[in-house]
């Protein structure tokens, strides 16, 4: 599904380059569930953002669904991203001014999907996540676990093939975290959605089929489960 070759990311500090990612090679197949681990500051988020095209590498080659992302224009990247990728954040990043329903609906609006169809899709996912009763509440009226649930629902609404999750359980207690992980597993196994998550939690990491350990911007080890 995606291939990274010799990907590096550095910031110019004074005269020298400060590498955040150093010569990363990585292949992810469709249907995989990858967990990325590593100490704070090791470059996990940066790696995830590059995969999700929110950030650009300083050097290297990036292929996604057979296209050379490093060759694409901003607009084409947005189109590719819109079609295939959904993001889940540690801080949920729901839009405060929109209700649960509207938050979930927003990606569909940006994909120019008709009102009727949008309604059906949102109703469907609300049902699946068991949050129909919460649809008219605003994010501030929800608990952290519920917010993350909405965040995941929003990421899934446009039926992405790849979900990128940056510490999705970081702000949740362990019970809430487990529920989210179960959800990911189900998505991965039943819907064949590819998942790449960053986590600090060993137990959560083991939901994945492969664990990648980062250290100082380099892949230190890869463990298949």
């Amino acid at each position: 599904m995606l291939t990274l070759k010799n990907i590096s990311k550095y910031y110019q500090v004074g005269g020298s380059k400060n590498f955040v990612l150093n010569n990363i090679d990585l292949d992810v197949e469709e249907g995989e569930f990858v967990s990325i681990m590593g100490p704070s500051g090791s470059g996990k988020s940066t790696l995830l953002n590059i995969i999700g095209m929110l950030d650009q590498p300083s050097e290297g080659y990036h292929y996604f669904m057979g296209e050379g992302v490093h060759l694409l224009k901003e607009k084409q990247r947005t189109a590719l991203y819109k079609q295939y990728i959904g993001f889940v954040f540690q801080a949920y990043h729901l839009i405060d001014e929109l209700t649960v329903y509207e938050n979930i609906e927003t990606p569909l609006i940006y994909q120019n999907i008709k009102g009727g169809e949008r309604k059906a899709l949102v109703a469907d996912i609300l049902d699946r996540f068991n949050i129909v009763g919460k649809k008219d509440l605003f994010p501030s009226q929800l608990s952290g676990g519920q917010q993350q649930l909405v965040g995941i629902a929003r990421a899934l609404i446009s039926k992405p093939r790849l979900i990128l999750a940056d510490e999705p359980t970081g702000n949740l207690n362990s019970k809430q975290g487990e529920e989210i992980m179960e959800l990911f597993r189900k998505l991965n196994q039943e819907d064949n959605v590819t998942i790449i998550q960053v986590t600090h939690n060993e137990k959560n990491a083991e939901y994945g089929s492969r664990i990648i350990n980062l250290l100082d911007g380099k892949i230190e080890s890869i463990k298949n489960i």
Binding site: I95, E102, S158
Partner: protein, 805 residues
């Protein structure tokens, strides 16, 4: 998609209630004031444009130059029109126009109406739609044309056409038949009357038919299709030479300078499309206004809009920091550039629409006061004419684009990743914001300085001693029907011996601008000891100096006891010094070659003209050549209004049929500065509005900045910073900007005001403290605005604010 935008926009509006409220308030005030100003400007420029032939309508006027300034007057003698029409085939239509007020009677109804005397061509030159009756009115001399309004007043709902009415002329009545009813004149018409009759009906028409030196009406004409107005105008020199020999001689006597081609007097064409702005030609129809001051209004309207836009942009930018995360999230959800731009544009449009609605409501509330204060007659309905509406919509969209897109673009420049990490430095002030704030406060300070200086100058000219008594002297214009010298004598006898009257005299010219609105000037030039002396000259009656309280320095003034005084002169100090003798009294001065005149007195210089001009050499004579046009009465200082009533009564007793148009000299001199007064009022209001809107912006900005720095302020407090230190910390940045703005405004204001003050020979010097005061004012107002918020933040419980992150 649109619904979603509006929903978010609305919720965002509600969320930042105070902030958005301020923003909307500022914008609404700007919209209200600039709408009124722009309407005024538009209205002024729309004058007379409804005449279909507007480009081919001209008014005749004479140009002369007696005292270094070309004087233009549209007043024409009766025979000009038939003569010029006969001599120049280029003229297609020509009509005289004289105004008058007459009693119109029908049945037992008697109404005072303004009836204009015109020729038949009048209705061909001007576009005056006929509502009923003959389309080609005034074929015969007893036809009357009236407006719909008058028709209703006279005949109620009956058909007016063909009705016979009586009109009062002098002692008796004449009968007229209503031949046509015309539409009422629109507000923006210079020509305005209740009715029209043929010019031949003017009182004294027959006697005036051959009189070339009695000017009493205006003449309008249009040219044939292939005639060139410039060429036609150049041919008129011949006409002047042929018909105005006497005027040319008098001009020569008065030492006039040539106006064109070496001629002392020329006949010219004034284009009627500029009629409303024609302040140069005396006697144009309607009330001419100064174009520069109208353009000034336009500039001020634009200034106010700029200030409001700047507010809007700055506030939007300030807010965009708090919304950066939303933008980032929307981007991760697949929003493209245009999606985001149109979202923010929608929000801007909504805010602007609300502001527009409030602004227009506000404008309708202010409108009556505005019209009263600025002598305007605009209506809000004028906003909804197609042309204005289009301009309005265009302007509206432009503002929303500028104010909506810029902050949106700014937000989209943030790196999504950083925004989501929350690491965009939100306290960064931004160069653009600072520049905009500086522009805003520069304009506000500029207007403040202008207000201060115009006020200073107006106070100065009001209070400057003029060298004569202006508070106790009443000036009465003598009706044109009366012989001035006789009238003065009659009135003198009438009030002789009355206790409250100190003195009565008369003169050729008024002091200041009287209720008759006329000014007279005459200059004489002659050779004296080998050089040319030019002196203002006018005739007075005896007791002139005494009545007006003008200081006599040497000799005596005119007296009825000396018959020879008709050959004597009084001179002012300026004139006396030109005579180059030790004792001017007794000197013979060759004012004209044959009869030198003897100086019998020297008086102190007084400002016989407005303070726009320096005091020049002045000679007073008691010469029959100059008529007496004004009576001056000085009364005792107590109970002025009682004296006024007393004099009025006496005047009416003496002249039962004449008007009493008297005014105190103080009123006359103030009237000379009414343009300046109006300008000062405009500056005043504009600066208040500008400062108000700027401060709203500043207030909202400080709310924002303090919000962003709440945590920092909390930490500083925990570390021991005092409230005043924190207030200073927050305010100093803004105050610095306000001071920078003031410094930028200073040279511009100085230049502008220096330019304006050049109009006055007597003027205040621009003082540094005015600039200091304006700056101080701006700083104090700004500081007050900011510190309200700063103090609140500073005294807030620090623990709470630190925790809130």
């Amino acid at each position: 998609m649109f619904k979603n935008y509006i929903k978010t926009a609305w919720r965002n509006l509600l969320k930042g209630k105070v902030f958005n409220g301020l923003n909307i308030l500022g914008l609404a005030v700007a919209i209200a004031s600039s709408a009124l100003l722009l309407l005024t400007v538009h209205f002024q420029f729309s004058y007379d444009k409804f005449h279909k032939n507007i480009d081919n309508i001209y008014q005749l006027y004479f140009s002369t130059n007696r005292e270094g300034v070309v004087e233009k007057t549209g007043s024409m003698p009766v025979p000009v029109t038939p003569a010029i029409k006969a001599e120049y085939p280029e003229i297609k239509n020509i009509s005289r126009l004289e105004g008058g007020v007459t009693t119109v009677a029908y049945g037992d109804k008697e109404l005072e109406e303004s009836i204009n005397f015109v020729d038949q061509d009048f209705f061909k030159i001007f576009t005056i739609p006929v509502a009923a009756g003959s389309k080609t009115p005034l074929v015969s001399q007893n036809e009357l044309v009236i407006t719909k309004y008058v028709a209703k007043a006279l005949f109620n709902n009956a058909d007016p056409v063909g009705k016979m009415v009586r009109m009062k002329f002098g002692e008796g009545y004449k009968s007229f038949i209503v031949s046509s009813v015309i539409e009422d004149f629109p507000e923006n018409s210079s020509i305005n009357a209740d009715g029209f009759i043929r010019f031949e009906n003017t009182p004294g028409y027959q006697q005036n038919l051959k009189v070339w030196d009695n000017r009493n009406h205006s003449v309008f004409l249009s040219l044939t299709d292939n005639a060139d107005p410039a060429v036609f105008e150049s041919k008129l020199g011949k006409f002047v030479k042929a018909h105005f020999k006497e005027d040319l001689n008098n001009l020569k006597r008065d030492g006039a300078k040539p106006v064109a081609n070496g001629d002392l007097m020329s006949l010219n064409l004034a284009s009627f499309k500029d009629n409303h702005f024609n302040t140069e030609v005396g006697g144009v129809e309607g009330y001419a206004v100064n174009k520069t001051s109208i353009i000034g209004l336009l500039v001020i309207a634009i200034f106010i809009l700029i200030i409001a836009c700047i507010n809007f942009i700055n506030l939007a930018v300030a807010r965009s920091f708090t919304r950066a995360r939303e933008v980032g999230v929307r981007k991760t959800l697949g929003a493209g550039k245009w999606d985001l731009l149109s979202q923010f544009w929608t929000e801007t449009i909504m805010v602007c629409l609300i502001a527009l609605a409030i602004g227009i409501a506000l404008a309708s509330v202010i409108l009556p006061y505005f019209n009263a204060n600025f002598k305007s007659t605009i209506k809000l309905g004028m906003l909804f004419h197609p042309a204005q509406l289009l301009t309005l919509i265009g302007l509206f969209l432009l503002i929303t684009v500028i104010a909506g897109f810029y902050p949106a673009l700014l937000m989209m420049r943030y790196k999504t990743v950083q925004v989501l990490k929350g690491s965009v430095s939100t306290a960064k002030p931004g160069k653009v914001r600072n520049i905009l704030l500086v522009v805003q406060f520069s304009i506000a300070t500029l207007l403040t300085i202008c207000t201060l200086i115009t006020r200073q100058q107006i106070n100065y000219v009001r209070n400057k001693p003029l060298g004569f008594n202006k508070s106790e002297v009443l000036s009465i214009p003598i009706d044109h029907g009366l012989n001035g010298a006789q009238a003065l004598q009659l009135f003198r006898n009438q009030v002789a011996g009355e206790k409250q009257i100190v003195g009565v005299t008369g003169a050729y010219r008024n002091l200041g601008l009287g209720n008759d609105g006329s000014t007279f000037t005459s200059i004489t030039g002659f050779n004296y000891k080998g050089h040319e002396i030019r002196s203002h000259i006018y005739s007075v009656s005896y007791d002139y100096l005494k009545t007006l309280d003008i200081k006599l320095l040497d000799g005596r003034e005119f007296s009825k006891d000396f018959a020879s005084d008709s050959n004597a002169v009084l001179v002012n100090q300026k004139m006396a010094s030109l005579l180059q003798v030790n004792k001017p009294v007794g000197t013979m001065v060759p004012y004209d070659d044959k009869h030198p005149k003897k100086v019998i007195g020297v008086f102190a210089d007084y400002n016989f003209r407005s303070l726009h001009d320096k005091i020049e050499p002045l000679t007073l004579v008691m010469d029959k050549e100059f008529p007496i046009n004004y009576v001056f009465v000085r009364v005792r200082p107590n109970s002025l209004s009682a004296s006024y009533d007393f004099i009025k009564e006496k005047w009416h007793q003496t002249f039962p049929n004449a008007d009493f148009n008297a005014s105190w000299l103080e009123q006359n001199t103030e009237k000379q500065y009414r343009n300046e007064q109006r300008l000062a009022n405009i500056f005043n209001s504009a600066s208040i509005i500008a400062i108000f809107i700027s401060c709203i912006g500043l207030l909202a900005m400080s709310v924002m900045v303090i919000l962003q720095r709440t945590k920092e302020i909390g930490i500083r407090k925990v570390l021991g910073a005092s409230v005043s230190r924190i207030v200073l910390l927050v305010s100093s940045e803004f105050i610095t900007l306000v001071i920078v703005a003031a410094i930028i405004a200073m040279p511009i204001a100085w230049w502008l005001m220096d330019q304006w003050l050049q109009n006055f020979a007597y003027r205040v010097s621009i003082q540094w403290w005015v600039f200091a005061l304006a700056t101080l004012l701006a700083v104090i107002i700004a500081a007050l605005t900011i510190s309200v918020q700063a103090i609140r933040a500073a005294i807030a419980n620090p623990v709470k604010s630190i925790k809130s992150e």
